[in-house]
């Protein structure tokens, strides 16, 4: 070993990073080489002195008790699951996100789609509920599979057990059957979404009624939609009345206003009541939605027609003429 190599190894030796073989080699060199031995002794002393200079104070530093509390509290709140359960939880999170997304679409787009007779639907939902409770996971797969199965809707109703069979079958085939049976099957799925949706505290008071899916909805990859029960909405949701020149904006029915709101990407309220004599609009919606809608009405009152609105109004008038 050369003195230069030995010198380089001195640091590693004192740092405890040398292998047994390397240590022996260094010791062998030091035994033979007087200058290196002297250098190593000096270096060892200097190392110890530097360590001593950087010595810790007598006591130990510690975090304040409040900070420790915060650390443990945050760790408790954000506790990640054990590896064995990580996948299912992640899967459920994704499923929940899909369901919330669909629920939101369902609330904002209710008037655009066909409606079934309410009493029939509710009885059908009631039937599906029991089966759904027995196998709630089936609905999640069916929900994911649903967009792939654009098909014709039908008024045909099926018994609850048959519905579940369709949903369960869809789990394997990753696609719902392309028949009229799909409508009924999806009601079951929608029912679960309703259940999940109602669990959230924010929306707990909003009773959601599920509407059956239409063929157009499926084609638009919106497998189902939910509609707030209008009567219940009136009781539970806050309302606000806005002044609006209905004639100027060519608004004759609530649907006309909804189209305007959609064109401007505003949230749709659960219920709209027009008063043509007073030129006012009463809206039932969540307080957050009402805040957004207020901006819309202020904008309408203050600003002239924008091209987008003009287009929306024109197309609306044109459609009416054609009809």
């Amino acid at each position: 070993m050369k003195c230069r190599d030995a010198n380089r190894m001195m640091t590693d030796s004192l740092a405890g990073e040398l292998s047994e073989q390397q240590t022996q080699a260094l010791e062998a060199h030091l035994a033979e080489c007087e200058p290196c031995r002297k250098e190593f002794t000096e270096f060892k002393t200097f190392w110890a002195e530097t360590e001593s200079a950087l010595q810790k104070p007598a006591g130990l530093l510690s975090l304040s008790p409040e900070r420790k509390k915060q650390i443990f509290a945050q760790a408790e709140n954000l506790k990640t699951p054990e590896p064995s359960t990580a996948f299912p939880v992640m899967f459920l999170k994704i499923a929940a996100m899909i369901m919330i997304g669909v629920a939101v679409i369902g609330i904002f787009l209710p008037p655009l789609f066909n409606r079934q007779d309410s009493s029939e639907k509710m009885s059908q939902i009631k039937e599906v509920k029991e089966s759904q409770l027995q196998n709630p996971n089936a609905s999640i797969d069916a929900l994911q599979a649903a967009p792939a199965s654009a098909a014709i809707a039908s008024e045909e109703k099926l018994p609850a057990k048959r519905n579940m069979a369709i949903v369960e079958n869809a789990m394997d085939e990753k696609e719902l059957p392309k028949t009229a049976e799909k409508d009924s099957a999806i009601i079951g799925v929608a029912k679960t979404i309703k259940g999940r949706f109602a669990e959230s505290k924010r929306k707990a008071d909003t009773v959601i009624r599920i509407k059956a899916i239409s063929a157009q909805t499926v084609k638009k990859f919106v497998p189902m939609k939910l509609e707030a029960d209008k009567e219940t909405a009136k009781q539970l949701l806050p309302s606000k009345t806005f002044n609006l020149d209905l004639k100027r904006w060519n608004i004759k029915t609530p649907d006309d206003l909804k189209k305007l709101l959609l064109a401007k990407k505003y949230p749709l309220p659960a219920e709209i009541i027009l008063d043509k004599n007073k030129n006012t609009v009463t809206l039932y919606a969540s307080s957050q939605q009402l805040q957004q809608l207020e901006k819309f009405f202020v904008a309408l009152a203050e600003k002239p027609l924008t091209p987008t609105l003009k287009k929306a109004i024109d197309s609306n008038a044109q459609t009416k003429k054609n009809q």
């Binding site: 740092a15 360590e51 200079a53 950087l54 104070p57 510690s62 650390i71 443990f72």
Partner: protein, 168 residues
């Protein structure tokens, strides 16, 4: 939790050295506590099995936090040894009597403070915190062999500077 150890154990074992390390950078007790608290919180949020050496990981996280603070304060992003030592409540501000004379200690720390930032930090992590080359490499984003080289060069330079200062 990233390893089998409980968070409580990790906190108890590492809070003192981490605070000292963060203090070396920030020279401020409150900021050092922020850095260490943030490191423990981040650690508690990590995915299980992704951190093999929690101690090195905590140092690295605290270091990044400190460097960010220093950059925000437009200060040089390096350890500062010019200022006073971190003081522990209820204990003497002076370190224990050791192998080195108090005057020499001041000179040595001054010499150490003049080293390049990387060299200074390698010496601190090795001689003050007793970290292995592998841990220092992880904390400072270096290769293990580079750590050995840096530490050797740093100590050689420090020794020479110290000898010159003492002989003046």
């Amino acid at each position: 939790m990233a390893s089998g150890e409980t968070l409580e154990k990790i906190v108890t074992e590492n809070e003192a050295p981490l605070l000292r390390y963060a203090w070396r950078y920030l020279q401020n007790e409150s900021l050092a506590q922020d850095a260490v608290q943030e490191s423990f919180v981040k650690y508690s949020q990590t995915i299980p099995g992704t951190i093999f050496n929690p101690r090195a990981w905590l140092y690295k996280t605290a270091r990044n936090y400190c460097l960010n603070i220093l950059r925000k304060q437009h200060r040089r992003p390096e350890i500062d040894l010019e200022h006073a030592e971190p003081v522990v409540a209820g204990s003497s501000s002076q370190p224990d009597a050791g192998l080195i004379h108090a005057e020499n200690r001041t000179v040595l720390l001054r010499c150490l403070n003049r080293l390049k930032a990387k060299h200074k930090e390698a010496v601190i992590l090795k001689l003050e915190h007793g970290k292995s080359y592998r841990e220092i490499a992880e904390i400072m984003n270096l290769s293990v062999s580079n750590v050995g080289f840096i530490l050797h060069a740093a100590l050689k330079e420090l020794k020479q500077n110290f000898s010159e200062e003492i002989s003046k």
